[in-house]
Amino acid sequence: MRPKKANKIVFKSAEEMPLMICSVGHQTHNLTGAWRNIRPEIDRANCVQCGICWKFCPEPSIDVVDGWPVVDYDYCKGCGICAEECPQKCIVMVEERK
């Protein structure tokens, strides 16, 4: 699993900043999962641990833990690609109730 408590980096001067904006913590700080309208739910009863959802997740917001795919809802935007690509059709997109 990726580290959960990433801190946003704020530079005090231009001098200490890198030339290009890279890995400065913005993406971990910004919990984009809040944008989600539908959430993927994985049914382990039918999952064959093929890893296709993990490969296709563009964020990437699916981790593999002890062989099982686990959705990281802090960052998953609910695009549904995992559900579309799952050969077992064991991922369903469920409407978020906010």
């Binding site: 704020v10 530079f11 900043m17 030339l19 290009m20 904006i21 890279c22 913005h26």
Partner: protein, 384 residues
């Protein structure tokens, strides 16, 4: 070794001798031969580079950004509409500090549909944060590609090597092709401090809030301000290695001149012939060819024009609703300078119309008959 080659192939040889590692390009007249020859070099093994075929110029620049961030020396070439299609990616390249070098063949923007030269394509990219070199000979094109990689990689700012459609791109000239070993000594391999690699994974180009964006742009401008001195320095090193100086400007017979043309690109060499003829008839003429447009060589322009009585800027471009673009820049460089001469602005040669020695004589006759520049634009050779 001396070879006879077209301007487009001078770009290809420059990219080959620079040991470009990735070339991604989409063909467009009059640029096509640049990448045709490079694809042949990749195919026959004379250049150890990955040639990426893409579906548009936007994708060509996107591919170069990807390869550059991975640490590969990256080259592309385009022209006019293709450059315009790249526009968004040009900002990504400079803002992301990817030192890509690109050849751009100056071709007039459509409509009217045109394949012939003028500078509005590249000058429309003036504010994208790319360095711009306007070349006047095939030799200068080849040499400048090598120098541009050196300067770009030192400052992490991309560079555009620019040449006129047909007047250079398809014109054959004798070009001294430097030895590979000498080029390798001048231009060491590209080794960026930060790059995309699986051993040190990073995300590039992420969301940048108002607490950081301005500092990034401040750093880009500060590094751009270092470029004039670096271009001069690497130009002198180039002269030591290859016998040809590559500076910011090319001042021809300006030392004792009281009337100076300000030019760029191939018109800058035609202007030299006009200067020689005017000198024969007793006019102390000179020609200041501005080679590097971004960063603008303020100090050099002030140095040359500060001691003349009149300057006449001949633009092969127009900022519609304002002036010729070099004219604006030259005036801005001279504003408030003690002893600055009156600066006259002319537009000539749009859409590939020839700028001849006679065009320059017409400019000289007009400017020398006046004490002050009271017209915003004087058109040369237009059928009114």
């Amino acid at each position: 070794m001396k070879k006879v080659m077209m301007g487009n192939h001078a770009l290809s040889y420059g990219a080959m001798l620079s040991r470009s590692q990735v070339i991604a390009a989409y063909p467009i007249t009059p640029q096509t031969q640049v990448v045709e020859l490079l694809s042949e070099m990749c195919a026959d093994g004379s250049l150890d580079a990955k040639f990426i075929k893409v579906e548009s110029e936007h994708s060509a620049m996107a591919a170069c950004i990807g390869s550059s961030v991975a640490g590969a020396r990256s080259f592309t070439a385009t022209s006019a509409q293709g450059l315009a299609l790249m526009h968004e990616m040009l900002h990504w390249a400079s803002g992301g500090r990817h030192p890509i070098v690109m050849g751009n063949i100056n071709r007039s923007m459509a409509p009217g549909w045109s394949i012939w030269t003028d500078q509005n394509d590249s000058l429309s990219e003036r504010d994208t944060g790319w360095m711009q070199y306007y070349c006047a000979s095939n030799q200068e094109v080849l040499d400048t590609v090598i120098q541009a990689f050196k300067v770009s990689e030192a400052l992490m700012i991309p560079g555009m090597v620019i040449l006129d459609a047909f007047a250079l791109s398809h014109t054959y000239e004798v070009v001294d092709v430097p030895d590979q070993a000498a080029v390798d000594a001048y231009l060491p391999p590209f080794k960026p401090e930060i790059r995309l690699t699986p051993t040190d994974p990073r995300a590039f180009g992420g969301l940048t809030g108002s607490e950081h964006y301005m500092e990034l742009r401040y750093k880009l401008q500060k590094d751009m301000e270092k470029a004039p001195a670096l271009i001069e320095e690497t130009g002198r090193e180039f002269e030591q290695a290859f016998g040809r100086n590559l500076g910011l400007i090319d001042a021809y017979r300006c030392d004792d001149a009281d009337f100076v043309f300000v030019t760029s690109g191939t018109a800058g060499f035609t202007a030299r012939a006009a200067v020689d003829e005017l000198r024969q008839s007793g006019v102390k003429a000179g020609n200041l060819r501005i080679k590097v447009f971004r960063p603008f060589p303020f100090a050099k322009v002030r140095e040359v024009l500060g001691k003349v009585k009149r300057a006449a800027v001949v633009d092969r471009n127009c900022s519609y609703g304002a002036h010729g673009i070099f004219y604006q820049e030259v005036k801005s460089a001279l504003y408030g300078q003690a002893g600055a001469p009156p600066v006259f602005g002319y537009i000539a040669g749009l859409g590939g119309r020839d700028i001849t020695v006679d065009s320059f004589k017409e400019v000289a006759a007009h400017a020398r008959a006046k004490d002050r520049a009271d017209e915003e634009i004087v058109w040369i050779g237009v059928k009114k």
